[in-house]
């Protein structure tokens, strides 16, 4: 059976898009895949390589003690800026009994905590630089499902969320177009169907054991 010109054009377009979009998204796939090994097997001592800096006379943003959620993060950002830090604010913890505010700040390459003594207007900043793999693992997990109200309080994490979403959309397109391109090769259909079935059985077994 010969292919119509339309079918041929569809095949060519699918093949070229599969290639180009695959090349574009490949660094993201590498980053997500490599970080899986880190997330599953690595151990990091978070207490080492920490530098501590103290800043005096910090300007306290108004209403920080009473602000909640995203508003608290926005006000805490003023303190984070004074500390010379840039990054995503994890949460804002106000310790009423000690008149302190603790703000963890993170970005690829850095984990920091800004601990502010509100009465004395002193901020103590502890920093821990993170390595390449930990940075990639950090991006793998961001913005993540926790603290939904707060997440994405830094522009670059919002941008990363958008890129991570597009990695998924492109991966879905690439897998679907890959299916189509494979199906067009008649000689490989049987073994391909066998592998598809084998993968489906393994997948079903995992889901059955873990989630059903």
């Amino acid at each position: 059976m010969t292919k119509t010109p339309g079918e041929k054009a569809l095949y060519r377009w699918t093949r070229d898009l599969h290639l180009c979009l695959g090349l574009f998204v490949s660094p993201f796939v590498i980053a997500f895949a490599v970080s899986v090994f880190f997330l599953n097997h690595a151990k990091v001592d978070t207490t080492v390589a920490t530098s501590v800096v103290t800043i005096r006379d910090v300007t306290l943003p108004a209403g920080l003690e009473v602000a909640r959620g995203r508003e608290a993060a926005d006000r805490a950002r003023e303190l984070v800026n004074q500390a010379g830090l840039a990054g995503e604010i994890g949460f804002v913890r106000y310790v009423r009994s000690e008149q302190r505010v603790v703000i963890p700040v993170s970005r690829p390459g850095l984990e920091a905590t800004v601990d502010v003594d509100l009465a004395r207007r002193i901020a103590v900043i502890s920093k821990r630089p993170t390595g390449l793999l930990e940075s990639v693992a950090y991006l793998h997990k961001m913005p993540g499902p926790h603290n939904a109200e707060l997440r994405g309080n830094w522009f670059w994490i919002r941008l990363w969320r958008w890129l991570a979403d597009w990695t998924v959309y492109l991966l879905l397109f690439i897998s679907a177009s890959g299916l189509y391109l494979w199906f067009a090769i008649k000689a490989e259909r049987q073994i391909g169907l066998g592998l598809l079935a084998a993968g489906a059985v393994c997948f079903a077994a995992c889901v059955y054991v873990l989630a059903v």
Binding site: P27, A33, H146, G192
Partner: protein, 226 residues
């Protein structure tokens, strides 16, 4: 001259054919796993979506008498308590140290979350469980590894978790083979070099910017904004 290059050419042709086959064989085998991690990745990225919500309504707690748990270490004793209660899953220790006369731990399992609170003196265990739907279970599978790289004390202690981690590692390794194999295929293809380079450079540039560059670029960018 041609006789010298013939075996090389043949080897290159075989490598090319097998590289192409490996690319779609791996893709077909891992297809459902790729879709699982893609969809659940989206859900994890968007916790406000109604599809992303994981209900946390606990079943009524129940209390059971237990035998004094055997073993010296907390892990052995927790396993013995689980055996007595007929529970299974990955043991997850609370952040706080164990109080005197108590053995408190959680059991993680994508389809169920369990809190076990043991009063060793009274020899009674209080159990509270949250049952998960299949949908929630699938989402939890994405992050279920029994491992926290920042917690020195954590380790995997359930065979099912270890098997699942092997599956996740295999998927990651398979994706890496597919990506590097695709680079080779594209290079050997000859055509679409310019467009390919542009796509690859754009991908790597944006990825490297996030991994390495934010420390330099973000402060400059923020200064510009202010």
């Amino acid at each position: 001259m041609s006789s010298l290059s013939d075996p090389r050419r043949k080897a290159a042709a075989v490598l090319e054919a097998w590289n192409r086959r490996l690319h779609y064989y791996l893709g077909l085998y891992f297809l459902l796993f790729i879709w699982l991690f893609s969809f659940t990745g989206l859900l994890l990225n968007h916790p406000r979506w109604s599809l992303s919500r994981i209900p946390n309504d606990a079943n009524p707690a129940y209390e059971r008498p237990i035998e004094p748990p055997r073993g010296g270490a907390d892990l052995e004793r927790a396993r013995d308590v689980m055996r007595q209660l007929g529970l299974s899953g990955e043991i997850d220790w609370p952040q706080a140290a164990q109080a005197q006369g108590r053995l408190d731990f959680n059991i993680a399992y994508p389809k169920q979350a369990t809190q076990v609170r043991v009063d060793l003196a009274r020899q009674r265990a209080t159990v509270q469980q949250v049952d998960r739907s299949l949908w929630s279970g699938l989402r939890i599978m994405h992050t279920f590894s029994g491992w926290r790289y920042t917690s020195a004390g954590t380790s995997r202690d359930w065979i099912v978790t270890s098997v699942w981690v092997v599956a996740m590692d295999a998927l990651a390794a398979g994706l890496l083979v597919m990506v590097f194999g695709s680079y080779y295929m594209w290079w050997r293809l000859g055509r679409m070099r310019v467009v390919g380079w542009m796509a690859l450079a754009a991908g790597w540039a944006s990825c490297v910017l996030f991994v390495y560059g934010l420390g330099f670029i973000a402060p400059c960018f923020e200064e510009l904004l202010h």
